[in-house]
């Protein structure tokens, strides 16, 4: 019978253990970064929408100074200039409420968020 000699450190050495740990850390960091990228993109998009909604509402409200005011038409023009879609426009008593939206990418659609929206109101 042939006897194989085994070194005492053959099975209990720690070669490669730190590499494995660091690789895991990097993988977790990359996954975390990806999630952070999407979250950051969503926050930036929502902020841009909120700003655009304010500008659309202000533009629509300034239309009340015209001889024949048509605030919702003005709102539509400002919204298209800001590359957002006017979802809703309602004028009442020299004030106008608007809601603007923007279609999301496939990732957000898969999460069930098809459109980001923001509302604003302005008046004389």
């Amino acid at each position: 019978m042939r006897v194989q000699r085994i070194s005492p450190t053959k099975f209990d050495d720690d070669k490669g253990s730190i590499s494995l740990l660091m690789l895991t850390t990097i993988l977790v960091a990359v996954m975390f970064t990806s999630a952070l990228l999407y979250l950051g993109a969503a926050i930036c998009l929502q902020s841009r929408l909120a700003n655009s909604a304010d500008l659309v509402a202000l533009g629509a409200a300034s239309e009340f100074l015209a001889d024949q005011p048509n605030p919702c038409q003005a709102a539509k023009t400002v919204a298209s200039q800001n590359q957002v879609e006017l979802v809703y426009c309602y004028e009442q008593n020299l004030s106008v409420s608007v809601e603007v939206g923007i279609s999301t990418t496939n990732f957000f659609k898969s999460l069930g968020v098809a459109t980001f929206t923001a509302q604003a109101k302005a008046g004389l």
Partner: protein
């Protein structure tokens, strides 16, 4: 484990060929991990800068459209190397802010340019004075 076994294991370990290997491995891999961490922070700073310039472009556009003086202290809220372009055409004011974000405080040639644009309609009285 008895005391003698423990001593023997310790003795064997001191003769092992991989002694100090973990420390050396850690020293090699650590810079990569630090680099990944630094990139993560840089990406985070990009989003913060984007939010800042979006907010600034909106504020300037609103101020101009309402006939007010654009906020003079915006520069203190914006990062270095920013560029503001204001254009007034057909009753609309367009404010575009560009920022060049570089890696490692311009020590590396690579970077990214962020931009934000806001378009606002001039108020009636301001539109007539602008034209």
């Amino acid at each position: 484990m008895s005391r003698s076994d423990w001593s023997r294991a310790k003795q064997l370990r001191s003769f092992a060929l991989d002694r100090g290997f973990a420390t050396a491995e850690f020293a090699i891999v650590l810079p990569a991990v630090v680099l990944v961490g630094a990139m993560l922070l840089w990406v985070l700073s990009l989003f913060i800068t984007q939010l800042e310039i979006q907010s600034a472009s909106y504020s300037i556009a609103r101020d101009i459209s309402r006939g007010q003086v654009a906020s003079g202290n915006l520069g203190s809220h914006l990062p270095a190397n920013y560029e503001v372009n204001k254009t007034i055409t057909n009753n609309f004011v367009t404010v575009k802010i560009n920022v060049q974000k570089s890696l490692l405080n311009q020590r590396l040639p690579w970077g990214i340019e962020l931009s934000a644009i806001a378009i606002s309609e001039l108020e009636r009285s301001n539109a007539s004075s602008a034209n």
